[in-house]
Each structure stands twice: as C-alpha cells, then as structure tokens.
Subunit: 404 residues, 2 copies
C-alpha cells in the first residue's frame, strides 16, 4: 500500500483541506493518506478550537486514513522545528511521499531555493543579522534578506506563509535523509490568514473560526465552507463540552501564572528570553483580557505569533530543560485514529515503523510523553470544571478513533 | 497614651470580638487598642471572607484604633509561628500589654503551664514522639502528651484552641523578652469552631460565615450577632466586588497549579513534605471541587487545617527558601488603618517604633514585603476578572483607612 503524508492542524477541517487532501492522493497516486496533526496547542500559539479527538473524527470522515499527533515540543514552534517533528513522524511510519499546499505550487522551485540558500549561506546569514539590528522581528528579517538576495533569481517567494512552511519541510527531508518524495499542490484561493470569506466554497480556517466566535446575528453561516461532518461535529462539541477553546478561556490561568511567578522562574520557561518576562508580568498586572494583554506586550521585535507561543509555554509550564534536547526528531508515534484502510496499513507495516506506536496513553509511561500529558491537562482548563474533567479523563482512556 | 495589643482575624468582626475588645481595654486600662490582623489568608489556611481593607473598616468602626497587617509568613501558620509574628509586631509598636481571649481566662495558669513544660521538656518531647508514632497528627499528639503528663497538676487545658494560641502568645513574649504584660479574658459562650449559633447575641465567626454562604431561604440572619457596621460593610462588599472569598473560588487555580507542576517543583513549596505532593497531584486530577479534593487528600496524619495551609502556600507559590529565614520576628509594620486617637498615638511615638512603618505599599520596595504582594495578587483571583483587577490595584494605591 502506498501512503502519502500530510501535515495539518484542521482547526477546523474545511473544504480547502478536502481539496488539498484529494490533490495530494492524486499527485502521489497513494492508496491512503496519513496526517500528522497538532494536538492541543497549535503552531501559531493558540489552543485548538476543539479537542484533537474531534478534529481526528473530522479528518477520518473526510479522506484521511491515519491521524498521528504531532508531539507538543514540535507543534507550538517556529516553522523549522515544527517541520523537523512532522517530517520525522511521517518518515517513521513509512510514507513514500509528502504533499503540502503552497502558494507556489511548483516543487522544483523549493528544491532550487534550498540549493541556492545553501551555496549563499554566509551572505544570507550576514544579511539577516543586519536586518535584525534595525529592530524588526526574525521572520521579517529573514523575508527581507531573502528578497534582497534573490531578486534576480527565479526562486520561491518566502514572504508567503505556506511557502515558508513547505520550504522547511523540504529542508527537513534533506537533513533527515528521508526517502519521502516531496510534492506540492497550489493552494486554492484563500490566503492562510484571511479573515474574510473569499470564494463560494473555500475559506481560510481563520475566517471560519472568526465566524464561529462571532456573536452577532448577522454572521454568515460556515456551512458552505466546511464538509457536513465538520458542522455536525462542531455542534456536537458544543453540546458535549459547552464551548470552543480560545485564548480568552485561558487568560485567567495565564495571568495567575504570571502574577505568582518570579522573573527568575519565568526565565526557566522555553523561549522566555531577553527580559521579556518583566514585560509579561507588568502587562498582566494591568490587563483584564488576553487581547488587552497581548496589545500591551507586543513590540516590533516580537511577532504576535512568537508571543503567543511563549504564552503557551508559560501556561503549560514547559521548561527550557525539558525542550532543548528533544527538538531534532520525534520519539514516538501517537495514534489518534484510523479508518479501515488505515488499520490495514498499520497491521501490515507496523514491524517496519522506526518509532514506537502509542495507541493508548495509559499503556505508555515514558518520560517523553510528559509534555503532551501536561498540554492535555492544561488544555482542559479551557472548559468549565465538569466538562474539563471529562475531557481530561478522555485523554487517558480514549482508544484511537476508528471509522469504518 | 497607653496601648493594649490584640491579635485578630475579624473574619468578620462580630459581637464576641466587640466584647473582647472592650474587656481588653478595661483590663489593661488602655487609652487605645492596637490590632494585628491577618491579611488575605488566615491561620486556618483559608482566604479571608472580605478584603483586609473592609475588615480594617469594621475594626476601626468598633473600637480598634490602629490596625496593622500580620505579614503573610506568620498569618498562615501553626500557632507557634503565628504567635512569633503577632507578638513581634505589637511589641515593636510599643503596646504596654497584650490581651487575648481564652477558654481558661486565668493568666497565671498560662505562666505556670509554660514553667511546667520548660522543666519537663525532655519527658514531654519523648511523649510527643511516642504519640506521633501511633499515626496521629502533631497537634493531636501534643494534646495527648500534655494530658498524660499534666493530669495531676492544675494546668491549662491545651485541647482548647484559644488556650493553645494564648499559650504560644505568652511563650513568644518570654522568648522575645518583650516587656508587654500578658492579660487574658474568658471567652464568652461560642466555641471557636462552633458551626451553630449558640446564644442570643454571640456566635462564632465560623457559624456567621456559614450563614453568609448558605443559599437556602431559611438561613438565619446574622444581624443579631454582628455590629451594624459589619452588616453594612458585608453588603457593600458584595455590591462592590460581587462575591465573598472562599476556597471554592480558588479551586480552579489551585488545580491548574497542581496539574502543571512536577512533584519536584511542588516539593520546593513551604510545608510540602513527605511525598504529600504526589497525593495532592493525584487527588487534583480526580476532583471537581475543593471540598472533594480535600476529602481525597485528608489522612489521619494531616489535620484539615495543615492541609489547607499547604494549599495556600502552593496557591501563592511560596517557597521554603522564601520562608525559612524570616519566621522569628516581623520585619516591618504595615499600617492598614487608624482612628483619630490611633493617628495621635502614631505621631507621638513613631520615633520609638523598633520596626519601619509602611503606610503605602508603592512607597516601599523592600524584598521583605514580596510575600504580602504575592498573596494580594493571588487573593484577587477569588473575584471576577474586573473586580479582581480593581481589588489588586487598591492594594498598591490604598492609603491607610482613616476613621474620624
């Protein structure tokens, strides 16, 4: 059986995802699709709208055959580390190819760009340093340097979010000496961060989430932008757990953490550097919402996303000492769900997987999965007390979701 | 001017307190009464019903002339440490006498008992150790040992809570070589922990709090048991801040803290010993209320009060390293409020105070007051977001309450 790997968040699963998934299977001529999906907290430093179990169901009902969790230490990270984790998971489970969506849509451009940057590494690094000195954030400096160096070549546009991710996927493939073949399909219409609905049937996850959280009665329905299973499962989630997860639900806990901790304690947290801890504490004292807090903390030097990621690590109490040694490759495959075909694949090839497969948390006691456990515990605080307890206990007892 | 010192929590101020205060002034032939009062968290390991500012107003409107805050490191403590802090505050501000309520009511019994225990120290300590080996809590062992050793003498009954406190006050006076004269008045009617109303006008603070938190319509009014100022201020507090403070309001935060911390981190917290940290984490996982949690955690070895104190220290993130060096004597006098007479006293004698007087937090940057600041920050989380912020900012800006 031939498997194509995809790297996803499905927050929530929408028509654009369905399109990409089909295109990936076609391009790879694959029998099944395997998704590595962020769990509780996402790349941009936000809690997932609904639990990973619900997002797994959405995926399995819409064409994915196996869903694996991207471990916490890779999920809430800059593109490079995110890519390292995701590629190592898909490689370990034996995907023959990787397919990602990009603004470019042309895989040779990715390969050329990587070669170009490798042969111009020194000049490039020098240029980034110069740009950082002007006070801009690292991603901005990267993008500026790239533009200035590559203007004459036919290279990737690295100011586009999906191109950047794809670039790091292909780079990780190379670094990890993975045999997976990289493929890319051009993204349809909606830009990654679009807050508005763009076309008749395709909209960004951002605009869909925005519509879900809108409280005015005029908000447009999301139904034309998501498969039926997504609509149904979102309603089911509200019925079962009472609310979607958003940063504001965690604000009191983040603030409590910031106001009882010393700057020294906060400096032990992953990515807390350069005195940002003092700024975080002072801003927390005066803010009564997460948005207000973020607006106070924001500087030119830190992107909103980077700050949100720092906040996630503070919220989950993730220390530098817990992270730094584990960021090269994943250490396990956490199985969240499978279809009948996915099950067949697992049974057929599991002896060849290069990482241990975890089907049930309670059966696995290794220290390596502690970060995921902590993230699940903290994620449950985004719900009311009873519902939070229910979700937390599911984490320990839930066998992988099975869709026939 | 002659000042008598009293050691109080006023949670809330009731008729029994008014009676004791008058009796103290009479017994001491004092011109003014100075109270050292617990701030945000109390000796039994509970948040105060209403803020220290409201409790200060109650005190000043009912006969106290100066209210000083008992610093956090003494307030949420076993009787001995609590007494060390309280006595050192009253001594530093120049009280000529100390008056406390007790079941005994006879000061000579306290003095005799202290002498007796000093001369029988070895036998007594041996006996306590034996009792602890049977698995009972330390206070229980103390009380049993005392009974077995003192049955033939005319000594204090050390199984009564106010006798125990008084015993430690007098002991602390002696140890600190204070010149304050100890006085005691017999407590009227209500036992310390009584949950039911005992007489027509005197009821324990416990029974008053119970009535305040009761939600059924049949609950008896507290008005006959408290001065008018208390009733009025309690209603005002609800109007201004939305709710009274109780452990259940802090439960989510305590649970969050327990579920994101490692056992090693919890062991750094003051009074977390003997593996109790593992029991606390496991119990927090399964409990959806503070009461449920405490019932799971409770063992014969730990009193309810001791466990609650541990929970307060976890909630406020108070480390062993922050506490152990500061438990002998207070380092400052934090002025919460004064009457006209109190102000006169302060002006007249402040040059002779043996500790610095803090009138406004924002003017005082010493490291020593950090524990009080942290306690105030955490205490504010017992209110809704907006009201919590309001209370927290008051902590920094509030000048001492003045009652003419």
């Amino acid at each position: 059986m031939k498997a194509v790997g995809v790297i996803v968040e499905y927050n929530p699963f929408h028509n654009g995802h369905a399109y990409h998934l089909q295109a990936a299977k076609d391009a790879a001529q694959a029998d099944i699709a395997i998704a590595v999906m962020s769990g509780n907290f996402l790349q941009r430093g936000e809690p997932a709208l609904v639990s990973k179990w619900y997002r797994t169901k959405m995926a399995l009902l819409n064409g994915v055959d196996i869903v694996l969790e991207l471990p916490y230490q890779f999920a809430t990270q800059k593109a490079e580390t995110f890519a390292n984790g995701a590629i190592s998971v898909l490689d370990a489970i034996g995907c023959q190819s990787l397919c990602f969506g990009s603004e470019s849509g042309d895989i040779s451009t990715f390969l050329q760009t990587i070669d170009y940057l490798e042969s111009n590494k020194e000049r490039f690094d020098e240029n980034i340093k110069m740009n950082i000195k002007t006070g801009v954030s690292f991603p901005k400096a990267l993008s500026l340097s790239f533009q200035s160096l590559s203007s004459s070549e036919n290279l990737l546009r690295l100011d586009k979010p999906n191109n950047i991710l794809g670039f790091h996927y292909v780079k990780a493939l190379k670094q990890q000496k993975s045999l997976m073949v990289p493929l890319t399909v051009k993204r349809k219409n909606a830009d990654y961060h679009d807050e508005h609905f763009a076309t008749e049937t395709i909209a960004s996850a951002t605009s869909i989430r925005k519509a879900l959280f809108a409280t005015n009665e005029n908000n447009r329905s999301i139904e034309q932008y998501v498969p039926e299973a997504t609509s149904t499962l979102l309603i089911e989630y509200l019925n079962e757990y009472g609310n979607f997860h958003a940063w504001e639900n965690y604000w009191s806990f983040l603030r409590y953490r910031l106001l009882h901790s010393s700057p020294e304690e906060l400096r032990e947290i992953y990515e807390v550097e350069e005195g940002i801890e003092n700024r975080l504490i002072a801003s927390a004292l005066d803010s009564s919402s997460f948005t207000e807090f973020m607006q106070r903390v924001k500087t030119k030097r830190y992107t909103w996303t980077r700050l949100q990621r720092i906040c996630v690590h503070i919220l989950t109490n993730t220390k530098k000492t817990e992270m730094n040694s584990t960021l090269e490759k994943a250490a396990y495959l956490r199985l969240l769900g499978m279809t009948k075909d996915g099950k067949e694949y697992l049974n057929k090839y599991k002896a060849q997987f290069t990482l241990p497969l975890i089907s049930k948390l309670s059966a696995y006691k290794e220290k390596d999965i502690l970060l995921d456990i902590k993230a699940s515990r903290v994620y449950s605080f985004g719900l009311g007390k009873q519902n939070g307890n229910k979700l937390l206990h599911q984490e320990y007892k839930q066998p992988p979701i099975y869709v026939n």
